[in-house]
């Protein structure tokens, strides 16, 4: 069985996902990034798009994210996002992320 590590996905409103995972696939402005256990310490900005998490149980969760940071240290992955929502599929997560980004832009316009 693959080694697992702790993953927390937090947004200002709530903790979106938290638990043990086998692999996390996130997007940074530079491209896709797959993180498994014992990844080197990393700090990166997050791009708008889907983030995939395969949990210890083998269950896959896809989350649409917009903005934020990802930190990897000591087998702890922390995703700090401005907006995040759990989606049902990869394609849907993409849409979710786009929608969140659009909502955000709207809120900025109002301000």
């Amino acid at each position: 069985m693959a080694k697992t590590f702790q993953v927390d996905v937090v947004s200002p409103e709530a903790t979106v996902w938290s638990g043990k995972a086998v692999i996390v696939i996130a997007r940074t402005p530079e491209g896709e990034l797959g993180i498994m256990a014992d990844h080197e310490p990393l700090m990166a900005t997050c791009a708008t798009g889907p983030v995939e998490i395969e949990a210890e149980s083998g269950e896959r969760t896809t989350i649409g994210v917009h903005g934020g940071f990802i930190q990897v240290v000591n087998n702890q992955v922390t995703l700090i996002t401005d907006r995040a929502e759990v989606a049902e599929s990869h394609a849907q997560a993409k849409e979710t992320a786009q929608r969140l980004a659009a909502e955000d832009a709207e809120a900025d316009d109002e301000a």
Partner: protein, 293 residues
Amino acid sequence: MASAQLRDTRRRIKSVEATKKITRAMELIAASRIPRAQARVHGSKPYTEKLIEVIENVGAADSGGSHKLLERRDPSRVGLLIVSSDRGLAGAYSSTIIRLAETRAADLEKEGKDVLIYAIGKKALSYFRYRGYHIEQAYLGVTDTPGYGNARALGNRVMEDYAVERIDALEAFYTKFESAMTQVPTHQELLPITPPDLEDDEKAVRVSYGFEPSPEEILNRLLPTYVEAIIFNMLLEASASEHNARRRAMKAATDNAEELIKSLTVQANRARQAEITTAIAEIVGGAEALVES
């Protein structure tokens, strides 16, 4: 036939009962909002905590480059961010925080500094406008259920003002929600950012991170996010406190109405009894007069 006094008292009872119904309804509405507001305060905590953790780590790894939001300059123009309420009927909630802010404003003016007010909520706006303070910006309609968008708009505004040196420092006044029983009016410095404690070496293990992009750039984006998160947290705490204050004020009003109804009922009964006694006395008197004749 009821006497004038009896009729009057009965009318008052009815009116107090109507008021009681209203205050009771407001109490229940406020009470129903507290758990949600409290849950949101709670839900936003992990985010802020993680953010602080990340900033500590980046700050430790950063080559010591300074950032505009961290720079301390001699303040001659100070912004005061005051979180009050849009509506009244919440007891001393707004006036407490406004008084705290005004004391500070007066102190600053005595030191010869300019005070700019960022008012959140109608109460702070009208209070400070009436007293001739310079209102830099007012935000209405956010205190009930503040969203992250509100915090971001506010954060962007104050950080921009700070960047162009329209303000040299920013202090916030809000009511911290400690528990359902205690809410504490709080005065907090927002800008320049006081870096989260870097002394805590045990926790801040100096790891050599891979950065993507550079540490400076990440810090550039982290710090504004941090300010937004703090403001968001403030708004949430204030909102929970406001609902709590309103519930308590309305509960007191309902209790008072109940008391008033009780004493008015006694008064009405007494008036009715007096009337009956008079009537009986009249009848007895009349009967006796008949017997005598």
